[in-house]
């Protein structure tokens, strides 16, 4: 078959996989409205969302390319040499690119492995060679634009800022290797997810916990990109300082990807002070990583080509000891179901894990302060609650996974609101415990965190209750189809803005009061009054929502 025809077919397959990825595996079939216009609109939304995501990713790549390299030109010349600056910035960019590509491709790639679309091609009169090539082209389509943009933008930016063609070529090689690593890592994580998590058997609390722990491996790129994007300057300076320490430490750093390429680029750009041993180590490591990339490319190609011929989902069948179940109350039933679904879905699990992880990272910034006072505490509480208020829409989208069935169950609005708000509140408490643990580890005072963090729990819970109430009011009748929640920007605006106001108002009020009134006792009193008032109002509104005598 001609390449153009295979490319066209791969486009059709890619659209379906992207659609399934956005509507979380087959839930597109559960959309509440059957009219052709609505379904077409949702498909259109899914397609534009996929394109938009690629454009945004490409834009981020270009932005980081120029941002990291501009700091090479506009560095404090007395502090860091040009060559060290290039090592740090090129290495950081390569790390950012790796994580960005993985994070962008992971969701679609897992759907790619889970989907039967490629398998269904086997039933058509196509040669198996063509099917595997379509599979490969389809995988390439997931990453096409960002891969191309990275290959063009960073060497071009490098040329612009340093004027070195040879340096640009080394950087180009580093980007090619990084892109191959990203593709291989994405494939490996997607395969890992389906063999160890999605297909994992067993329903005990311990196994749910274990799956959550395994999920950490899957969400590493999410955290990786978060860390690198937020702390890229610090990371660059840290490794620059490492290379300036002992000679052996410097040699060890040069052997590590991506510093080998950063060092090579700096050596061909800045020719003063040549160290042949370092150059040799960096060049040998760079060549080693290139060979590794070739191996990774072959492995990835084989894994992708096999998607259509080998079932990706492990059946995970285990020996069934008994068929007993443990029914609980309605509220506990919904919470347990949400946790079980989340423990098998990376996108849901990352939402639940992110607040605690972010808190741990932010808490370590306390080491820079002599003490953890009012300002530091409120700053970190804002960060914690801003992530926690993202949870209710995500938790309601779980309801969309089987809304066509779940709506036939005797559930009330109130049960659903309370279940989601409680999960968000528990996530906040876990973040608070992590914050306290980190603060104690850093041997700082925990008074402000205990007082303000404890009181802020009521505001965050109130925010989660208000968001859940709004979501239930908006979607109870039409059903919690994921398409409703994720493809409408207005939903986010209507849900998150009130949530943010409830969560942030006491904090902002406290900061303003502290500016004008120096008495911190009075500020604490305001903070507690506002939080408890918010909680009472939210509880009252939820209490008024439709319930039932049967609902407990």
């Amino acid at each position: 078959m001609r390449f153009s025809e295979l490319w066209r077919i791969s486009g059709v397959v890619y659209k379906e996989i992207a659609f399934q990825s956005i509507f979380s595996l087959r839930s597109g079939g559960l959309l509440p409205s059957k009219t052709g216009t609505d379904v077409r609109k949702l498909i259109g939304n899914a397609q534009s969302s996929t394109i938009l995501s690629k454009i945004l990713m490409s834009f981020s790549i270009v932005m980081f390319a120029f941002m990291t390299l501009s700091s090479t030109t506009f560095r404090e010349t007395g502090m860091i040499s040009l060559s060290l600056s290039i090592v740090g910035n090129v290495s950081v960019f390569l790390a950012i690119l790796l994580f960005l590509l993985v994070i962008m491709g992971l969701q679609v790639t897992t759907s790619f492995f889970a989907s039967d679309v490629i398998t269904s091609l086997n039933a058509l009169p196509l040669a198996s060679r063509d099917v595997s090539f379509i599979s490969l082209l389809c995988f390439a389509r997931i990453f096409d634009l960002p891969l191309l943009v990275a290959i063009i933008s960073f060497p071009l930016a490098y040329l612009l800022f340093t004027g070195s063609v040879a340096g640009g070529l080394v950087v180009l090689l580093g980007i090619c290797v990084t892109e191959v690593f990203a593709l291989a890592l994405t494939t490996a994580l997607a395969k890992f997810f389906y063999s160890r998590i999605a297909g994992a058997a067993g329903g005990s609390a311990w196994k749910t916990l274990m799956r959550m722990a395994l999920m950490l491996v899957w969400v590493i790129p999410i955290f990786g990109v978060y860390i690198v994007m937020n702390f890229w300057r610090e990371i660059a300076y840290f490794f620059m300082s490492l290379t300036q320490t002992t000679l052996s430490a410097s040699y060890a750093v040069l052997m590590i990807y991506p510093f080998s390429y950063g060092y090579l680029a700096s050596q061909v750009t800045v020719t003063e002070g040549v160290d042949f041993v370092s150059q040799f180590i960096a060049a040998a490591s760079g060549a080693g990583y290139f060979v590794l990339a070739l191996g990774a490319l072959t492995w990835t190609e084989r894994a992708i080509r096999n998607v259509g011929s080998v079932g990706a989902i492990s059946s995970g069948r285990s020996v069934v000891r008994d068929t007993r179940i443990s029914p609980q109350g309605r509220l506990a039933g919904v919470i347990r179901k949400d946790l079980r679904v989340a423990s098998r879905s990376p996108s849901y699990a990352s939402f639940l894990l992110l607040p605690a992880f972010q808190t741990a990272i932010l808490a370590f910034s306390f080491s820079a302060f002599s003490n953890v006072g009012f300002g530091e505490t409120l700053g970190i509480l804002m960060g914690m609650s801003s992530i926690t208020i993202l949870l209710p829409p995500m938790l309601f989208s779980i309801e969309g996974l089987s809304s066509a069935y779940a709506r036939s169950l005797p559930l009330t609005k109130r049960t659903l609101i309370l279940a989601k708000a409680m999960l968000a509140a528990v996530t906040y408490i876990i973040s608070l415990v992590v914050l306290l643990a980190c603060t104690l580890y850093l041997q700082k005072s925990i008074f402000f965190i205990l007082a303000y963090g404890g009181i802020h729990f009521f505001s965050v819970t109130a925010a989660a209750m208000i968001e859940s109430l709004l979501l239930v009011t908006m979607f109870w009748k039409s059903g919690f189809a994921i398409g409703n929640i994720y493809t409408r920007l207005t939903t986010y605006i209507v849900i998150l803005i009130p949530g943010a106001i409830v969560a942030f108002a006491p904090v902002l009020g406290a900061i303003l009061l502290a500016v004008f009134v120096s008495n911190l006792d009075f500020v604490l009193l305001w903070f507690a009054t506002a939080a408890l008032l918010e909680f009472a109002v939210a509880a009252f509104l939820v209490g008024r929502s439709e319930g039932s005598k049967l609902d407990r």
Binding site: L25, R26, S27, G29, L30, P32, S33, K34, T35, T37, D38, A114, A198, G199, A200, A201, G202, G203, I313, S314, S315, G316, R317, S318, V320, T323, R324, I325, S326, P327, Q328, G329, R330, A332, G333, V334, R336, K337, R340, V341, R344, S345, L401, S402, A404, Y405, A406, R407, S408, L409, P410, L411, T412, K477, S478, G479, S548, L550, D551, R552
Partner: protein
Amino acid sequence: MERAAVCVKDLVVSYGSLIAVDHLSFEVKTGEVYGLLGPNGAGKSSTIKVLVGVLEPRSGSVTVFDTPLAEEVTVKSQIGYVPEEVALLDALTPREFLEFTSSIRRLDRDTANSRLGKLVSAFELTPHFDTPIAALSMGNKQKVAIIAALLHEPPLLVLDEPLIGLDARSSRILKELVVYQARKGGAVIFSTHIMEIAEKLCTRVGIINKGKIVGEGTVDDLRRLVRKAEGSLEDVFLKVTEQEAGIDEVIKGLEEG
């Protein structure tokens, strides 16, 4: 004594400008297996979805054991539902899924387990009990949905094409359970495309076409209605849904290639 299990009056369901169910009325009594028949897109599943609370009607009234649909929890507690598209929570195992549904239905642990053991064994689901639903075959997913519908022993069973994908043994067991449900005083609404099954299983049938009931009664009543005393339910069905005309010509055309 017979009483109305389901009473549907002037039901209208629409998707945008498309009217799927058009002023539909029917009643199902306790002790009945009521077959809901109709060609594709006739409005059977839409009607069923309204009954079980999955879909909001545009207008009309529906009561289940004299309780209006507005009392959602009370109504839904009395229904066991097997949907046409078995879209359960694929990430969960049957054990986890049934734990979830029985929690929502507030089932007592011992009662649930005693009944569950029998159902799982009857439908031979034990080997798959801890396998994620996503990895199950269509028939096994259907069995999970059937067990979830039967576990709380509801007085009303609403089964939308429940036999699709089931093996012969499970199909036979389900049919026997449907008959038993009616015999013990419950009611069943059964939607199917397989006329032979409807003919054998249903006490009464309602034939829907273009959102309206075009024929209702026992199979004999319907035969009299279309004056085909000797014909099968399939013949009657094709007649009342005006699908009979032209079938011979279509087949002839296809045979000629």
